[in-house]
């Protein structure tokens, strides 16, 4: 899988490139700012671009704007946005068109290397990776008469992992449950929340996020 890394902190970038390399990814280009990122996306045609939200020159939202442009001009490129802080609002804005091939994670998620590499892989396969923190925020926004009240603790856990963009298999691994159990949880959730029949891994993220929103 071909990856482009856009990150201005050299130390972090090098660490990132190393674990990606060791994880079997092909890091085809590295960029230190938004312009270099655009050139790299055009010339290297990566499967995934990993982009830091804050980049030079102003260290505010260059990365976000670069990410939006890539989504518009190169929708075939998977995009994984890394940030020091995550906000549900930003996630929803970036997601608003399509969750396919999109990820939004806290930078420190990189430290859990296997989880992180799995997220990169998911984005590269047109899947979704949403930070648990964002999902927690979406849960936290619930008000009185919350339909989520009707879910069991386990079902809530499964719902969170679905919102993160994980597949059934991913959820099995994460919770150490059998595929059959996870499947029945998923079906229960969709029934209880009146979301209709559960669609496949890729599409259900949208349904779940739309519900949580």
């Amino acid at each position: 899988m071909r990856v482009v890394v856009a990150e201005d902190s050299v130390l972090f970038r090098e660490g990132l490139v190393r674990i990606l390399g060791e994880g079997g990814f092909d890091v085809v280009a590295q960029a230190g700012d938004a312009d270099a990122l655009h050139r790299a996306v055009i010339s290297a045609k990566p499967d995934v671009a990993i982009v830091d939200v804050r980049m030079p020159p102003t260290q505010t939202d260059e990365g976000t704007r670069a990410a939006r442009q890539i989504r518009e001009r190169h929708p075939e490129v998977g995009l994984l946005v890394l940030s020091q802080v995550v906000e549900a609002k930003h996630a929803m804005e970036l997601l608003s068109e399509s969750p396919e091939g999109f990820g939004y994670l806290l930078k420190d998620r990189v430290i859990e290397i296997d989880d992180f590499l799995e997220a990169v892989r998911r984005v590269g396969r047109r899947g979704t990776a949403i930070d648990p923190e964002v999902v927690a925020q979406l849960f936290g926004r619930r008000r009185a008469q919350d339909p989520l009240e009707g879910l069991t603790a386990r079902e809530r856990e499964v719902l969170s992992l679905m919102a993160e963009g994980r597949s059934n298999r991913g959820i099995c691994d994460k919770l150490v449950l059998s595929p059959k159990t996870v499947e029945s949880h998923v079906n229960n959730i969709f029934t209880k929340l009146r979301l209709g029949p559960a669609p496949d891994d890729h599409r259900r993220v949208l349904a779940v996020l739309a519900f949580l929103k």
Partner: protein
């Protein structure tokens, strides 16, 4: 000077009698006692008005000018004498009298011709008239009567070649050029003067200048009649009385102008009474009425600022434009206040002086008032600056944490994690355990730094504004919060203040209130951003010194807002901040 005026007055009165007699005895059917006395009375009015103006305002040249005009108008009548010397001298001098009148009209009210074009008009009037009258007398031989004269011939002392026809023609040309063309120019300049004048000056100028226009029109008609073979006698009769009315109106208008200034000065007496008990803001209005200048501004001198401020204490510059004039009022050599007024008030320095003297005490009072306001304003500005600077500092710290320490810690943890994986051959489980624990600690540290930075100043507040930041805040609060936030961006310090009000209030609820739910609301109304946090907890919160609520109150008040806490025991707590936001 007084003697001179008395002599001139006496001489003018005597001259009036002579002028009357000269007309009656020499003009025959061309005059009547009524006409002759009307002319004399008009001239006397000029004389009297001039003498009065002169004694009231010795420094103003208008008085002498008006006096001269009156005497010149009387002397003009001597030209009708059949005596050759009187005829010759006063035919020449007499025609200049109208220009003295015009001179006085244009010089009103300062007594000086200040405009270049006006000066040019008066100069050419004098010069052209002088040469024309000499030219007429050079050709005059008594064979043809002159315009306005009876048929009896008179002896011109400077007649060189007798061409009565030529004399009459030259006189026609004189009437057309001097009365017609220059009359039109004079009226145009008067209209221009009125148009250009400041409102106050216009009110003063208007009556006089309208009288002057009437005279000018009369002169223009006269020049038109030179083209008419036989003008109607009735029409001439009307024109004569028109002229008389205008000549009487002119000095009357001047007297009225003078009287007006005296009335205004009498009004200063009322000012003293009026200013008693007038609030400082009312002084300007009272002075404006007394000086009859609606544009008047009063600025106060603040020694410690070495500059002027307005009544509200805001710093003000003295204007330096043509249509504003400044009079500084002083007390014992120290400036108290400056009056910024219409330049026409400069013609009445006594009036301004008197008004200033009358208002001195009140002005001094108002100055102290303005001084206090200015100091308050300074304090207010510095409080806003403190809040704004603190916010900027917080934003900077937040970014430094994210881009500095947090970034490095994450990179460090990643490196350790990589190292840990390399060592996963199981050769030294102790090292593996140590590295895992260190990475965990680092992760906790990163998490704590992120929370710290959010508490200092959340990035989303800068990037997306108050509504988004409140939504983020509410979604992290561990109990249900109903949020109703107004959209739209506001100045950074307003957004930050409202955010911290909500943030601190929610934190208090978590810590103390024992509440099951809360409501956060922001509304924009009447130029205020109102932020309101309400819970259903135990109540009894107070904004005492040192508490977080006191800090919030300071913050809101620093921006000129209001902060209140309603927290009856067992009745929940309601915290309301109202922050001005110029919208």
């Amino acid at each position: 000077m007084k003697t001179l005026r008395l002599v001139l007055l006496a001489a003018g009165l005597a001259l009036g009698v002579i002028a009357y007699r000269v007309q009656i005895h020499n003009l025959g059917v061309f005059t009547t006692p009524a006409r002759a006395s009307a002319i004399v009375i008009g001239a006397w009015l000029f004389l009297v008005a001039g003498i009065v103006a002169w004694s009231r305002r010795p420094a103003n040249r208008l008085g002498p000018l008006m006096t001269a005009a009156g005497i010149a108008l009387l002397l003009r009548q001597l030209r009708y004498s059949h005596d050759g010397v009187l005829f010759t001298v006063f035919f020449i001098v007499g025609e200049l009298s109208y220009w003295v009148v015009a001179h006085a009209a244009f010089a009103y009210p300062s007594g000086r011709l200040t405009d270049r074009l006006e000066r040019l008009l008066i100069k050419s009037g004098y010069t052209i008239t002088f040469f024309f009258t000499i030219a007429i007398l050079i050709f005059y031989d008594g064979s043809r009567p002159l315009r306005f004269f009876d048929r009896a011939p008179r002896g011109s002392l400077i007649s060189i070649s007798g061409h009565g026809e030529v004399a009459v023609t030259v006189q026609k040309a004189f009437v057309i050029v001097v009365w017609g063309i220059l009359g039109v120019v004079a009226i145009a300049l008067i209209v221009r003067k009125l148009v250009r004048a400041t409102p106050r000056a216009r009110r003063i100028l208007a009556p006089l200048l309208i009288a002057a226009i009437t005279v000018g029109l009369r002169a223009i008609f006269e020049s038109v009649f030179t083209f008419v073979e036989r003008p109607s006698a009735i029409l001439y009769e009307y024109l004569f009385w028109w002229q008389i009315a205008a000549f009487i109106a002119l000095p009357v208008a001047l007297l009225a102008g003078l009287l007006r200034a005296r009335l205004a000065r009498a009004g200063v007496g009322d000012l003293v009474l009026e200013l008693e008990g007038t609030p400082p803001q009312g002084i300007r209005d009272a002075l404006s009425r007394a000086l009859d200048d609606p544009t008047l501004e009063v600025l106060f001198w603040l020694p410690e600022r070495n500059g002027f401020v307005d009544a509200a204490g805001r710093g003000a510059e003295l204007p330096s434009v043509d249509n504003r004039t400044i009079t500084t009022l002083e007390n014992a050599g120290e400036p108290i206040a400056a009056l910024v007024h219409d330049p026409s008030l400069l013609e009445e320095p006594k009036l301004v002086e008197a008004a200033g003297a009358a208002a001195r005490l009140a002005l001094e009072n108002a100055r102290l008032h303005a001084q206090t306001r200015a100091q308050l304003e300074q304090v207010r500005e510095s409080r806003v600056r403190i809040v704004t600077t603190a916010d900027e500092e917080r934003r900077r710290i937040e970014r430094d944490i994210h881009d500095g320490a947090q970034q490095r810690l994450v990179a460090l943890a990643l490196q350790l994690r990589s190292a840990q994986r390399r060592l996963m051959d199981g050769s030294d489980p102790e090292v593996d355990r140590l590295l895992a624990a260190t990475v965990n600690e680092l992760q906790v540290a990163v998490e704590e730094l992120r929370e710290l930075a959010r508490g200092v100043h959340p990035a989303i507040l800068t990037e997306d504004g108050l509504a988004a930041a409140l939504e983020s805040l509410v979604s992290r609060t561990p109990f249900p919060v109903d949020l109703d936030a107004a959209e739209g961006r506001l100045p950074a310090q307003v957004e930050a203040t409202a955010y911290f009000v909500a943030c601190e209030a929610l934190a208090n609820i978590v810590k103390h209130a024992g509440a099951s739910s809360a409501i956060v609301r922001t509304v924009r109304q009447n130029g205020l951003l109102v932020v309101e946090v309400e819970d259903d907890g135990i109540g009894g919160a107070i904004a005492a010194n040192g508490s977080g609520l006191r800090g919030l109150a300071d913050r809101v008040e620093a921006l000129g807002g209001r902060f209140r806490v309603e927290s009856p025991v067992n009745g929940g707590t309601r915290i309301v901040g109202e922050i001005p936001c110029a919208s």
